[in-house]
Each structure stands twice: as structure tokens, then as C-alpha cells.
């Protein structure tokens, strides 16, 4: 069967990260945007979760953990461990 698609429609797609919070608590930039050091939102600047279920931009939380000996969640001060993606 021959299908002709009339160019009446424009294809549009949207994406967003599946995060409960709107923005990262460290940089206060939207998760669907990117951290202050990045320019392009998307896979290169993903959100990451700790076992405490608090989410931050990967770049933001790594910067914090690298700058401090205590590996604490900035939100709840519990020990920070990355949540493995078992979703």
C-alpha cells in the first residue's frame, strides 16, 4: 500500500527529565535546563539521585562532593551515595 503524507502537519516533540523537583537545589537552574557550566540541556547534563532520593545536576553534586571531605547530601546531610538506576 502506498502511503502519501501530506505536509499539512509539522512533527513536534518534547522531552523532560523525570524529576519531582523543578530545579537543582545547588545551582537553582531547572533540571530541564542545564547546570551553570553547561550550555546545552540534555544527556550531557543529567540529574542524578542519591539514596536519600534527592536529585541534583550531576555536575553540581560532583563539584560539591569533590570540594568536601564529608560526603553529605546538601539537602538532608545524610551520607551521599548514588542511587543505582534500578528503575
Amino acid at each position: 500500500m502506498k502511503v502519501t503524507i501530506k505536509s499539512l502537519w509539522n512533527t513536534v516533540s518534547a522531552w523532560h527529565w523525570d524529576v519531582n523537583e523543578e530545579c537543582c537545589g545547588i545551582c537553582r537552574m531547572a533540571f530541564d535546563g542545564c547546570c551553570v557550566d553547561c550550555k546545552i540541556p540534555g544527556d550531557d547534563c543529567p540529574p542524578v539521585w542519591g539514596v536519600c532520593n534527592h536529585a541534583f545536576h550531576m555536575h553540581c553534586i560532583l563539584k560539591w562532593l569533590n570540594a568536601n571531605e564529608l560526603q553529605q547530601c546538601p539537602m538532608c546531610r545524610s551520607e551521599w551515595r548514588f542511587k543505582s538506576d534500578e528503575k
Binding site: G25, I26, C27, R28, M29, V36, D37, C60, K63, W64, A67, Q72, P74, M75, R77
Partner: protein, 230 residues
């Protein structure tokens, strides 16, 4: 550039109109019927173009305005974050923030007038500096008013847990101001900078309170005169 082009176009139009005015007299009736429609079409095209340019113009002018507002250099992450903090901040009653230089969001003054407690109605000035590593490092706070307080030494250094060991990048300028206000409502002798005042507060709360009142009235404590704040 855009204006120049517009001017050139206007001149061309004027020339065409002059030609039109001259044309009927020389070329007869045919020319009169064809030329005006051509001009009309051209005019509408010009209009479209001018509109396009205008929208582009305003777009660019907005851009340049925004960039000039934040200074000639690109806003750094600390500035971006501080701006967000200040936009969302709810300043507690008795606190007032003032900027020395409105282009410099990283340095500002804070005045605190406690509405309750021992230090009620006295006004204390603070200078706050946001480091370029903010929010990974806490704001630097200095007390510019000489004060008799267990957590503020006579040089103006402030001891507040969230400004030091308990700083977290999720805290913001608003929470720091709130913390400073709390310091006046509830001085904490367990974490002192002015050890003398803290020890007295633990040993003899009545005489500590008397000392605070005396200091706020501009009196001497341990041979040091305090400014009159009440």
C-alpha cells in the same frame, strides 16, 4: 545600518513619486494605469521589510540591554545564583538589604534591627560578600557595628554554624540573613567568639543581660566603649 537602509528606500520612493508625477505629462495614459500598482506593491513590500527589521531591531536591542545590565563581562555562576537568591528572597521583618553598587550583586550591606529579645530596637550593620565559588562556599559576613555578643567578636567576626562548618549549597542568602537575625534573638554561648560574654551568659545570665543593655546604651564593658544604639 537598518536606519540607513530605510533612509535609502525612502529616497528611492520619493524619486519614484517624482518620476510618476512627471510621467503622465510625457508618456500619455498607458503609463498612468500601470505604474501606481507597481508602486503600491513595492510599498507593501517595503512595509513588510521594515516591519521585519523593526522586530529584529527590537530583539537585538533587548539582547544588548540585558547584557549591558549584567556588566560587560559574562555573569559568572556565583552571580547567577546570587541573583536568583535575591529575587526569591523574603527579607524578615527588621532586616534591610542595600546595594552599594547596583551592578555588583556580590557585595551588599545588611542592617538588622531585632524586633524582640535582648538586642531589641538596636540596629546592627553587616557587610556581606558572596565569593566567586558560591554556592559551594558560604557568603562572607562581617559585622560593622561593635557589639557585645557571645557569637560576634570585637573585630566583627561572626560565628554562625551555617556560615562555617554547616554550610550547604542548598542554603541561600535568605537563610543566612534569617540565621543572623536568630543570633540576636537567641545568642548561643556554647559556640562563642566573645568568650568573656559567653562565659558570663552561662555563669550569670542576669549580669550578662545587664552588660548587653549597658553596651547598647553606649556604656563601657571591660574598658571598651560600645556605640550608643538605643
Amino acid at each position: 545600518m537598518f536606519r540607513l537602509k530605510e533612509l535609502q528606500k525612502k529616497q528611492q520612493q520619493q524619486q519614484q513619486q517624482q518620476q510618476q508625477a512627471a510621467a503622465p505629462a510625457t508618456n500619455g495614459t498607458d503609463a498612468v494605469t500601470t505604474e501606481p500598482t507597481d508602486v503600491k506593491r513595492q510599498n507593501s513590500n517595503d512595509l513588510k521589510e521594515i516591519r521585519k527589521q523593526k522586530s529584529k531591531d527590537s530583539y537585538f536591542s533587548l539582547k544588548t540591554k540585558q547584557s549591558s545590565e549584567s556588566g560587560s563581562k559574562r555573569a559568572n555562576p556565583a552571580e547567577l545564583r546570587a541573583q536568583k537568591d535575591i529575587d526569591e528572597m523574603e527579607v524578615p521583618v527588621g532586616c534591610a538589604v542595600s546595594f552599594k553598587d547596583t551592578n555588583d550583586i556580590l557585595n551588599f550591606n545588611l542592617s538588622i534591627t531585632p524586633t524582640d529579645g535582648l538586642y531589641q530596637s538596636a540596629t546592627f550593620q553587616f557587610t556581606i560578600n558572596i565569593p566567586s565559588t558560591y554556592p559551594y562556599d558560604p557568603p562572607k559576613v562581617h559585622c560593622d557595628t561593635l557589639v557585645y555578643h557571645p557569637n560576634i567578636d570585637l573585630e566583627g567576626h561572626v560565628c554562625l554554624n551555617i556560615l562555617r562548618q554547616d554550610w550547604m549549597p542548598v542554603l541561600n542568602i535568605g537563610t543566612v540573613i534569617f540565621g543572623l537575625m536568630t543570633l540576636f534573638l537567641e545568642p548561643n554561648p556554647d559556640d562563642p567568639l566573645n568568650k568573656e560574654a559567653a562565659q558570663l551568659m552561662i555563669d550569670n545570665k542576669k549580669s550578662f543581660e545587664a552588660n548587653v543593655r549597658q553596651s547598647l546604651r553606649g556604656g563601657y564593658i571591660s574598658n571598651r566603649q560600645f556605640p550608643k544604639l538605643l
